[in-house]
């Protein structure tokens, strides 16, 4: 993966930069020793690594503003970092950049149950937001798989989703306001404890902008009352097409499950070998979960099972207890680990129209044979967000490149059938060079024009999202 060449002029001014930062940050918030900056050399896309020039860990909005102003004035690129769990390389540094980590911004600032929001500093982890309100029976809905570790700042940067977004939406649907610092140090407030902020929808624009428009330091998030209960049903099919039809029928029936998860045979077999959840050995498996009181759950599950029966399932297993629910979810939740047990894997994240599911799975199977690499498919079927896991051997020369080429072909297929390159992981560096497959030059230009407005010098996370050749003139002109 190509990255811009580090600017030797910036690297030569490291000592000067440190001394400017020392005036605004405590000593332990500046990390400059090469042995320590190495911690920040990559995120969860570990195939690409580069230690930054420096890392800083500001503990307040004011400190973030000071850091950005200094870097802005000296022309130093800044790469914001939440918890470094990005699978897309969203927090990959360059050698001439400063990593701005938000880990010390982890306080809860306000909880308000009457008005159903929480205001937190952006370095707080996703799960600990729910942790702060669950004793009162509330939760924060977006639940990315990395929720134990990932920070709200990163969730906002990538507009993270999760398994339950079919019902509750993704980050952008649960974000009410932010405090955001622009690259020149200007502190802005957008939205708050009220709905639909005034003016253009800058909040919607910031969410998912991959840390390229500003650094979010505080966020007002919608919290919801926990449902009375939730239970899944497991449905096995001998035909992927039939499984897809079943998903469409469930959705059309007016039941709104909180999640519809799908696994194909390679993934089922891998998880069975790994976790022994007792899944049937079949072509396609659905886990459909609904919420409500016990009686409400029974009624919804009965409707779903009636629909399933009309599609001749090979397995139909309703959960009647917390233990049974846990067993049904066990395989799904260990799917990634199970695949990782077999080999190294690359996790993709394209979205397709649900109606294209059978065709896309068939094509992925064909391509798997052509490339000679195995694939397991596990994904959020209700919204068409696929996570094909391509197995490869990182120690085998050329295998990573082969896997990346295969992955790119799958993502192009997603676009070709009316979908998109990434449903919840973000573009980062990983899908940067595929953006031309989804967008015409003008469509990319207008997005880059947005960055021109927020960050005219193109210093914030500059080498992400857009193909380097497309952003070249802007990045160079800004220097």
């Amino acid at each position: 993966m190509e990255m811009p060449k580090p600017d030797p002029k910036i690297m030569a001014r490291k000592a000067e930069l440190i001394s400017c930062l020392q005036a605004v940050l405590p000593a332990d918030a500046i990390i400059s020793e090469p042995s320590e900056t190495r911690v920040y050399e990559c995120d969860a896309l570990t195939a690409y690594k580069c230690p930054p020039l420096l890392a800083v860990l500001p503990a307040s909005t004011q400190e973030v503003s000071d850091v950005l102003r200094i870097c802005h004035d000296m022309g130093v690129p800044v790469v914001p970092r939440g918890s470094g769990t990005s699978l897309a390389g969203g927090a990959l540094p360059t050698a001439d950049s400063v990593i701005l980590g938000v880990a010390r911004l982890n306080e809860v600032l306000e909880t308000d149950y009457d008005n159903r929001f929480i205001r937190v500093q952006s370095g707080r982890t996703n799960l600990s937001v729910t942790g702060a309100v669950e004793t009162e029976g509330f939760f924060y809905a977006p639940d990315p798989s990395s929720q134990l570790a990932c920070a709200i700042a990163g969730n906002i940067a990538m507009n993270s989703g999760g398994a339950h977004c079919l019902k509750y939406g993704v980050t952008t649907n649960n974000l009410m306001g932010v405090t955001m610092v622009l690259m020149d140090g200007t502190v802005t407030e957008i939205g708050g404890a009220f709905l639909d902020a005034e003016g253009l929808d800058l909040l919607g624009l910031i969410c998912g902008s991959e840390g390229q428009l500003g650094v979010v330091t505080e966020a007002t998030l919608r919290i919801l009352r926990q449902p009375e209960g939730a239970r899944p049903v497991l449905i096995g099919f001998d035909d992927i097409v039939v499984a897809g039809a079943c998903v469409a029928d469930i959705i059309k029936a007016g039941v709104l499950p909180v999640a519809i998860e799908f696994m194909d045979r390679p993934c089922i077999r891998a998880t069975e070998a790994f976790a022994g959840a007792g899944y049937p050995d079949c072509e396609a498996l659905l886990i459909v979960e609904v919420e409500g009181s016990d009686a409400e759950i029974d009624e919804q599950l009965e409707t779903i099972m009636q629909i399933a029966r009309s599609h001749n399932p090979v397995e139909l297993r309703e959960s009647n207890s917390a233990e049974e629910s846990a067993k049904i979810w066990l395989g799904r939740k260990s799917a990634f680990g199970a695949m990782g047990q077999i080999n190294d894997y690359m996790c993709l994240d394209g979205t397709i129209p649900v109606s294209q599911l059978p065709y896309v799975l068939k094509r992925i199977g064909e391509m798997s044979k052509e490339y000679g690499l195995d694939v397991g498919n596990v994904f959020h079927a209700g919204d068409g967000n696929m996570h094909p896991l391509i197995l490869f051997d990182a120690n085998k020369p050329g295998d990573l490149e082969l896997c990346e080429a295969f992955g790119a072909d799958i993502l192009r297929l997603c676009v070709e059938v009316g979908g998109c390159l990434t449903g919840e992981h973000g573009v980062g560096i990983e899908k940067r060079d595929l953006m031309h497959d989804q967008y015409a030059p003008g469509d990319l230009d207008i997005q880059m024009a947005v960055k021109d407005v927020f960050d005219p010098k193109w210093l914030l996370n500059p080498a992400k999202v857009f193909p380097l050749a497309a952003s070249d003139t802007r990045r160079i002109a800004a220097e």
Binding site: F194, E198, E299, C420, Q447
Partner: protein, 381 residues
């Protein structure tokens, strides 16, 4: 002046490329919010038709000028709907004509169910539009989850035609509910009502409407809570809700489909203020702040929606209240106020300088010649 009504996206793009003066962008023209802008009316009303509708995937792709009624008819045939329940402004504003889906998106128009399912912008999956240089651009798509590049979809929603002219929108649609139950109680004070609504919204019973009228259909204050879903589930939750709110009084439950529908249209379209003299303001605030804000503005009549987070105010002529005072009351606590009906002030809330600079910067990028709705949304002249 006759409106320009291009019949294809290409014609629209050509027309904008050739334009040499300001254009007033219009869908059905039923929501003339904000100061009248200059220039020739450019209407999308001839860009009509449903491009794609997949009920099993809950997605609809439709040309911007398609009448909302045609969209709703198509969805209704499959038992689905636009869940964000867009308000019809015609009765409140005394306008005529046919609202378009593009107009709904351009003004991010939502209704009572916004409190549960989100606003129009939360259901918008993709857009096609023509920018100020006549370029046809797209963003988003027709799938539910999409983080590919910047989310200009959200940016276009609620941009009132100031960034581009929408030609096509993709929307997430949802199944209609099988049954509706509405809990009703008369006589609560504003403060008590908002407390009751907060308790309802903080329950696990999935409230899809939470409103309070100072003057209901029969003149008395009325508090309304809507539950939707399968029949047994609605009945169960209504019962639980009555227990939960027993401290506020004995809520009755209305389940007649016609009456419940009419009741929520009454709220959605702000019918109580129809045909009555005075300015109409729309306030977005923190729900618990709402009663205090209203109490500090003597002589107004209020309708609370979204559990108190949305306040409609009828400000009688000669009340002595002006925009400065109303906006000060709101911004002191956080929120914003829009003048929906009346000309006594700038309709849109003035923005903080840093935000205004970003907004102006975006407008200059999308519309470098300043063709689209100049003066609207508080743009510096």
């Amino acid at each position: 002046m006759t409106a320009l009504t291009p019949e294809t996206e290409a014609d629209l793009a050509e027309l904008i490329t050739q334009a040499d003066g300001p254009l007033r962008i219009q869908g059905g023209g039923t929501r003339p919010i904000g100061a009248p802008t200059n220039g020739a009316v450019l209407s999308t009303s001839a860009l009509t038709g449903i491009e794609l509708y997949e009920p099993g995937a809950l997605t609809l792709v439709v040309r911007a000028g398609t009448p909302l009624s045609a969209v709703e008819k198509a969805l209704d045939a499959e038992g689905q709907r636009l869940a964000f329940e867009p308000m019809d402004h015609r009765r409140l504003l005394g306008t005529t004509g046919a609202p378009t889906i593009g107009g709904v998106v351009a003004a991010n128009v939502s209704g009572p169910r916004r409190i549960q399912v989100g606003a129009c912008r939360d259901h918008l999956l993709g857009v096609r539009f023509v920018d100020g240089q006549g370029q046809v651009l797209k963003n988003g798509g027709r799938v539910m989850k999409n983080v590919t590049g910047y989310d200009l979809v959200k940016l276009m929603a609620g941009s009132y035609g100031t960034l581009g002219v929408l030609t096509e929108v993709s929307l997430k649609v949802l199944p209609k509910s099988h049954a509706t139950g509405v809990l009703l109680l008369e006589g609560l004070s504003d403060a008590q009502a908002v407390k009751a609504l907060s308790a309802a919204l903080g329950s696990p019973y999935e409230v899809t409407g939470a409103a309070h009228l100072q003057k209901g259909m029969d003149g008395a204050p009325v508090t309304m809570i809507r539950l939707e879903g399968f029949e047994n589930s609605v009945a169960y939750r209504a019962g639980e809700m009555q227990k939960l709110l027993a401290g506020f009084g004995d809520f009755t439950v209305e389940t007649d489909p016609e009456r419940t529908r009419a009741g929520w249209h009454y709220i959605r379209d702000v019918v109580p203020f129809e045909g009555r003299a005075g300015d109409v303001w729309r306030l977005s605030v923190k729900p618990s702040d709402a009663p205090g804000i209203v109490a500090g503005l003597p002589g107004v009549e209020a309708l609370y929606d979204w559990g108190g987070g949305l306040v409609w105010l009828l400000v009688a002529d000669g009340s002595g209240l002006n925009a400065t005072r109303i906006r000060a009351a709101v911004t002191a606590r956080g929120g914003h106020a829009t003048l929906i009906r009346g000309t006594s002030a700038e309709a849109f809330q003035p923005l903080a300088p840093a935000i205004a600079a970003l907004q102006d910067g975006l407008r200059r990028k999308f519309d470098p010649r300043g063709l689209f709705n100049p003066g609207l949304m508080g743009q510096a002249a």
